[in-house]
Amino acid sequence: MTNEVGIKVENLTKIFGSGDSEVRVLENASLEVKKGEFAALVAPSGAGKTTLLMMLGCVTEPTSGKIWLGDELVWDEDHWSIPDTRRIRREKIGFIFQAHYLIPFLNIVENVKLIPLTNGWPDKKADKKAMELLEYFDIADKRDAMPSQLSGGQNQRAAIARALSNEPQIILADEPTAALDMQRAVNVVKMLRKIVEEQNVAIIMVTHDERLLPYCDKILSIENRKVVTTTQDAHLIV
């Protein structure tokens, strides 16, 4: 872990609706996850975990507050301070979801190299990177297979490979193990742990499974519309 900021949030507020139908999801919430840090985000259903993740991913607009991704201020109180949120997403962020959400009409290697190619990487470089990741996740022999031809676990590994293909500074994972059995869930989290340590990225993983928390450096929980941070020493556990 370094002292470089991975994700930083200050006084973030998100209000849906107005008047009688107003719903305050977050109110002046703050958090910080450094590069090389693995944070779990836990909270009961409906507490705003996915909303927070979508705000950090520059998908949902906050109502107020500030968000930094790395050293870049992306949300400044009431507006995006970057011209193109999608560029930030494809250059700085890797997304992992509960389901793999691979594009069904692209084969595995194409799914993995799509974002680097969109970022302007030459095909050779993107292909090399994709193959490195597929080898890393032990699915290199499935490079030409379609997602429909792979098992759930293989697809999830391919999805993680895709999330890493653009060499992101931040990985946002929304319950990536929810659809997996315990053994596979532990394997995925160990994989993320390894990525954190080897590639110095900041990860925030939404999870409901307390058995996975020991693999994380930080536990972020949403209580009374604020984020409470608990730090622990995950390295001893892994």
Binding site: M54, I93, F95, E110
Partner: protein, 383 residues
């Protein structure tokens, strides 16, 4: 860069091809409709071209013999032939008839009566596929091969029985009905002579039975080389009681007065079909986009720019349009000769339709593009 449209089409190529075939059949029908129109225009001029006259003389104040009824005296051909610039003349009689084919089916035909011993023949020798033209003044007939008769077959028309001596291909009336050729005398009898029952009845009523069967519907003439058709026509008009049309004017009468309504009708159908095809392509692309909306949301969520998604949809639409156009052409060329009337498929029409299909496809893709641009990236994760 990965071409998303190619990948998506390859992933579900069978569905895509079947869809393109469906739209293609619709475009094929559009091509056939245009071909029917072209066929009508050609049919309308077949007799005109086969007879090859420079001038058509008909009853005064009529657009005869094709657009309006016309009756004039046969001997006018002799008077006309005496005109300075006229080379040859012929009297012609035209009549719609019903003929029982060898299959026992009654078919509408267009009978053309001409003098087999005259100066101008109504039969274009190039159209003869069997037998010969008429040689006798009575009871011979030349028929279209569409009727199914063989040489030597007997056909009963009116009071008489006629022997098939020749078979033609492609000789039709301005309405596209198969043409049959009779001697002028036989045609005049068929057209102007009353039946025995009618004569008997008229006599019983005390009426004078005086049918004139020396009438014809038109007299055609060819001019001597170097003559001015308009000047000659103007000279003949001055005699009164006659209308005269040059070959160009008669062609105008046929294409404007005879088939104009029908061609407008076909034009309307064609425009509607093109509109329907556009709507169908738009609906297909819209549905295809809706089917991919989850993938589109994922693409947007992971940061793919709008132009890549728009490009994918537009390329798929254009590919669908091009494939449908190819299938449409194949379909049209497979069925065009099954139509009872002439269908003429022309390359410029196909290219014009191709242009329209491309424009329609781009317009149709706008629905899909709009839906894709509106897609919420949060929909990818259901949040």
């Amino acid at each position: 860069m990965i071409n998303l449209a190619t990948k998506d089409i390859a992933h579900s190529w069978l569905k895509f091809v079947i869809t393109a075939m469906g739209v293609g059949m619709l475009l094929g029908i559009v091509l056939i409709m245009i071909g029917v129109y072209r066929g009508m225009v050609i049919d309308a001029q077949v007799l005109l071209d086969d007879i090859g006259a420079d001038m058509w003389v008909v009853q005064e104040n009529t657009l005869g013999p094709f657009a309006e009824s016309s009756r004039i005296h046969e001997d006018l051909k002799n008077t006309l032939r005496a005109t300075v610039d006229i080379d040859k003349t012929a009297a012609l009689a035209f009549l719609n008839l019903q003929v029982r084919t060898p299959d026992g089916v009654m078919k509408r035909v267009y009978s053309v009566g001409y003098d087999p011993h005259g100066d101008i023949s109504a039969i274009n020798p190039k159209r003869l596929v069997a037998g010969r033209t008429l040689e006798k003044s009575h009871y011979e007939i030349v028929v279209s091969q569409k009727l199914g008769f063989k040489l030597g077959d007997k056909i009963k028309l009116g009071r008489n029985i006629y022997t098939v001596v020749g078979i033609t291909k492609g000789a039709v009336s301005s309405g596209g009905d198969p043409a049959i050729f009779l001697s002028l005398k036989d045609a005049q009898e068929l057209q102007f002579l009353y039946s025995n029952a009618r004569i008997h009845n008229d006599r019983a009523r005390g009426l004078k039975v005086d049918a004139d069967n020396h009438l014809v519907n038109a007299i055609v003439a060819t001019l001597k080389p170097g003559s001015d058709p308009d000047a000659v026509a103007e000279d003949i008009r001055r005699w009164k009681h006659l209308s005269v049309y040059t070959a160009a004017q008669e062609r105008d009468v046929l294409t404007k007065n005879v088939i104009e309504t029908a061609s407008k009708q076909i034009g309307m159908f064609t425009v509607i079909l093109i509109g329907v095809s556009t709507i169908i392509i738009a609906l297909i692309i819209y549905t295809m986009t809706l089917e991919k909306i989850k993938e589109i949301s994922i693409m947007k969520l992971v940061g793919l720019p709008n132009w890549m998604i728009t490009k994918m949809i537009t390329q798929e639409t254009l590919t669908l349009g091009v494939l449908a156009f190819i299938f449409g052409n194949l379909f049209a060329h497979a069925i065009w000769d099954k139509f009872p009337k002439r269908v003429v498929l022309e390359v410029p029409d196909a290219w014009a339709l191709f242009g329209i299909v491309l424009i329609a496809s781009v317009l149709a893709s706008l629905f899909g593009v709009y839906k894709a641009i509106k897609a919420d990236p949060r929909a990818a994760i259901g949040g």
